[in-house]
């Protein structure tokens, strides 16, 4: 099977002006992926499914990823000329910028008939709050339907063109998206037998304050 770069070039020849970016995977698996823009996503997906050299007829997996806002610190070296006429100095300047977060949907495509794959597609939303829609690929691969519903349920990605976009795991009146990084679960466990880490910090809110210890001794093992 052709590499992702070859695939991107072939797609660019077929769909001029399409937004296509290759995301390389530096790990040993080297499963590089292709970020596709919203405008031609369904056409590109249909092409990948029907192209005789690819025939990616199975979408085996749809995954959501939450990328929160992150602060990036960049260090640049700037050469400052010495006003006294001496040799120029090299000064390191650090700048911070906020990289906006987004939600991402990852599709793993295989070909049953030609026995190759995976080809990995990514769709990204504009941000994490109000521009959270991506085009649904359920019209192309029927197997996406439940998995896109799951991504909608747990991450809050709106799939435009999905035939039946409802929650699939949580109940209909549920308002949160539990797999988002900033989700706060209900505080409904009061203590842990062996807390540590984040659980310890959470459990401490339910423990009595230190001065109250003598009164709480009746309650149980110290």
């Amino acid at each position: 099977m052709e590499t992702v770069e070859q695939l991107r070039d072939r797609l660019l020849a077929r769909f001029p002006g399409a937004a296509l970016t290759v995301v390389t995977n530096p790990s040993p698996s080297a499963q590089h992926s292709l970020v596709i823009g919203h405008a031609q996503a369904v056409e590109i997906a249909t092409f990948l499914r029907d192209d005789p050299a690819l025939r990616l007829d199975q979408c085996s997996n749809v995954t959501g990823v939450d990328w929160p806002d992150k602060e990036v610190t960049e260090t640049t070296k700037v050469t400052v000329p010495d006003p006294a006429g001496g040799p120029a100095k090299v000064v390191a300047q650090t700048s911070k910028r906020l990289e906006p977060g987004y939600l991402e949907v990852v599709y793993h495509l295989y070909s049953i008939s030609l026995r190759h794959g995976p080809v990995i597609l990514r769709l990204r939303t504009g941000n994490r709050t109000d521009q959270v829609s991506v085009p649904s690929l359920t019209p192309v691969w029927r197997s996406c339907e439940f998995q896109e519903r799951e991504v909608y349920d747990l991450y809050g990605v709106q799939f435009t063109g999905h035939p039946d976009l409802r929650r699939i795991l949580m109940w209909d009146g549920f308002q949160d998206h539990p797999m988002r990084r900033d989700y706060v679960e209900p505080d409904d466990y009061q203590w842990e037998p062996t807390p540590h880490g984040e659980v310890m910090a959470k459990a401490k809110q339910h423990y009595p304050a230190a001065p109250a210890a003598p009164a709480a001794k009746e309650g149980g093992a110290a």
Partner: protein, 222 residues
């Protein structure tokens, strides 16, 4: 031979003690009390509800089959309807989406009824305790008689729990303030079914059957 004069029967004989009754039973004379035969009857034919939730249900099914043979203890009649069952074996993880249905089944069972929390998940949420969608123990909503720890408990453990439940039933007085709830008028046996809320079940617990445990006091490492 002169026979001893027959002693007149006391006007109000002292009730037989359990030891005297056992002694008579050894001689082939069967005496019983209403309480004893009532408790014997209801403890020897506990019909469980045919209801399983997760992997613990597989062990419950194994306990009901020929190898472990729960019919030795009179509980082989798994009823498909809650209206014909005496025993709710909560065998497995209770998700928050499933919890109202479990409580509804419990409310549909006629008294006298018993509940066994089987396995770590039904007792406390088990390995999913820190998650967002698993109930932290079914005893937050319905009264539990027997807790069987394990992940999952072996069929022998379930049989032991059943024997413990039988022993508990046989020790219950049928009158007075210690009588079980179905023989008393002052206890409301209905368990309110929680609603699906925006973030959690509402209410998230039934305070008449469950209160948070006393906080565990931990000494900080110096």
């Amino acid at each position: 031979m002169s026979e001893p004069a027959p002693t007149p029967a006391p006007a109000n004989p002292a009730p037989l003690t359990d030891a005297e009754r056992d002694e008579l039973r050894r001689h082939g004379i069967l005496l019983t009390s209403l309480q004893e035969i009532y408790n014997w009857g209801r403890s020897r034919s506990i019909w469980p509800l045919n209801f399983g939730l997760a992997c613990c249900a597989i062990e419950m099914i194994a306990a009901s089959m020929a190898r472990f043979d729960i019919s030795r203890f009179g509980s082989e009649v798994f009823r498909p309807s809650p209206r014909q069952a005496d025993l709710l074996i909560v065998s497995g993880t209770v998700t928050k989406k499933m919890a109202p249905q479990v409580i509804r089944l419990w409310n549909q069972m006629p008294e006298p009824k018993y509940c066994i929390a089987m396995g770590a998940c039904a007792i406390s949420g088990g390995p999913f305790k820190q998650g967002y969608n698993v109930l932290k123990g079914i005893d937050r909503f319905i009264p539990v008689d027997i807790y069987i720890p394990g992940c999952p408990p072996r069929p022998e453990a379930l049989l032991n729990g059943l024997v413990q439940l039988q022993a508990k039933i046989q020790g219950q007085p049928i009158a007075g303030p210690d009588a079980p709830r179905h023989l008393r008028d002052d206890i409301n046996c209905d368990c309110p079914v929680p609603e699906f809320g925006a973030h959690d079940l509402e209410p998230s617990q039934n305070p008449t059957v469950w209160q948070p445990p006393a906080p565990l006091v931990r000494t900080e490492k110096a």
